[in-house]
Symmetry: C2
């Protein structure tokens, strides 16, 4: 689904990191159901994984649970949120306010997870100055170089058409952004010090298609 | 990022399956650049992976390349597309025409990959009967049980609010759908024979946040 570039010295395996947000969502659901304690089997069932994997993943956080009882839901959720850095507020900028950008801005669950939208850019002059949601006004992409460094986002999200994504990435990197999430269906090049994650929304459909091909 | 439930007897590892669409996108870019032959190192650079992993993944498809030369781009793209079942047309239904649903319908890259939208449902009476894109009219969600079996989608995509996603999943399963892609931020329960993939758009931001926390 995704790819990671850039350098990290990393003790927690990338596959484990990718599962932590899924566990966290399950724990939030358990909290909503007023479940105080959950077993690794319970987490596995909710997350679609297996219990041994859950125990191993959580052991990287120093969370071993209590044998025969399980994990305290509140405590475990807090540990995962802390490991993911969600206890600090993350400042996120978005470039490209098309349908996907609008969908992301209105998608529930970012705010709950410590993400704050701090800027929205679009190249369409008709959109500039209009409300983007969350009390933000759309800024013109031409202003990016001049305004983004002061806003100091931790992460930038690219939801432009594929044709302009590389140019936007270059501008973001020049403005000092070191973490980029790209939704445009194109492979981007960024310097080594920048962490880039690539999301291709059609990948999930292709994976389901694989399983259909296999079953037929 | 995602989870898979349901039974499959599967020789190709799930992690390999998840990388195949990424390789395919890179090969399409190579085709666009008129590159006839590509090495595993080249694919690794474009996809953000490593060459040994690329060679191992492709060996599951019986594709070994030519030592010292590489893979023929057209041929390899064809093999991956075939493995992913993309050479057959996949019929896809969408339930929930909010911002995210609209974004998916207009997202480039589904059509290229053998996906055809065959139906769009929404519960809002004001949307029913209006054009949804791709020559389709929005159908009312209440019609789903009566109309979906005849349309026979291979895959259904849920882009409803979290609060109605389980109800929609139940209706899809009752209508005979065996592959579901869920974008609603909630864990769904489906019978064993149904393949469910869960996409949480905030997961990628959380993964970037982990790397920020690690670096700080």
């Amino acid at each position: 689904v995704t790819q990671v570039t850039g350098e990290h010295v990393n003790q927690v395996p990338e596959t484990t990191i990718e599962r932590l947000p899924v566990y966290l969502r399950c724990l939030h659901e358990a909290q909503a159901m007023r479940i105080p304690v959950i077993s690794s089997i319970g987490i596995a069932q909710m997350s679609g994984g297996n219990a041994a994997q859950v125990r191993k993943d959580l052991s990287y956080l120093g969370e071993f649970g209590t044998r025969g009882i399980g994990y305290e839901v509140d405590s475990l959720a807090g540990h995962i949120a802390k490991a993911l850095g969600l206890t600090q507020q993350r400042r996120v900028a978005l470039v490209g306010l098309g349908r996907l950008g609008s969908a992301l801005l209105s998608y529930g669950g970012f705010g709950d997870r410590g993400m704050t939208w701090v800027a929205v850019y679009d190249s369409d002059p008709d959109k500039v100055g209009t409300p983007a949601g969350g009390g933000l006004l759309v800024r013109g992409s031409a202003e990016l170089a001049a305004t983004l460094p002061e806003l100091g986002p931790d992460i930038a999200v690219i939801t432009t058409p594929a044709s302009s994504a590389q140019e936007v990435a270059d501008a973001l990197v020049a403005a000092g952004v070191c973490s980029i999430l790209n939704f445009a269906p194109v492979t981007l090049e960024v310097p080594e010090h920048v962490t880039l994650r690539q999301v291709d929304l059609s990948v999930e459909l292709q994976i389901l298609s694989f399983h259909l091909a296999e079953g037929s």
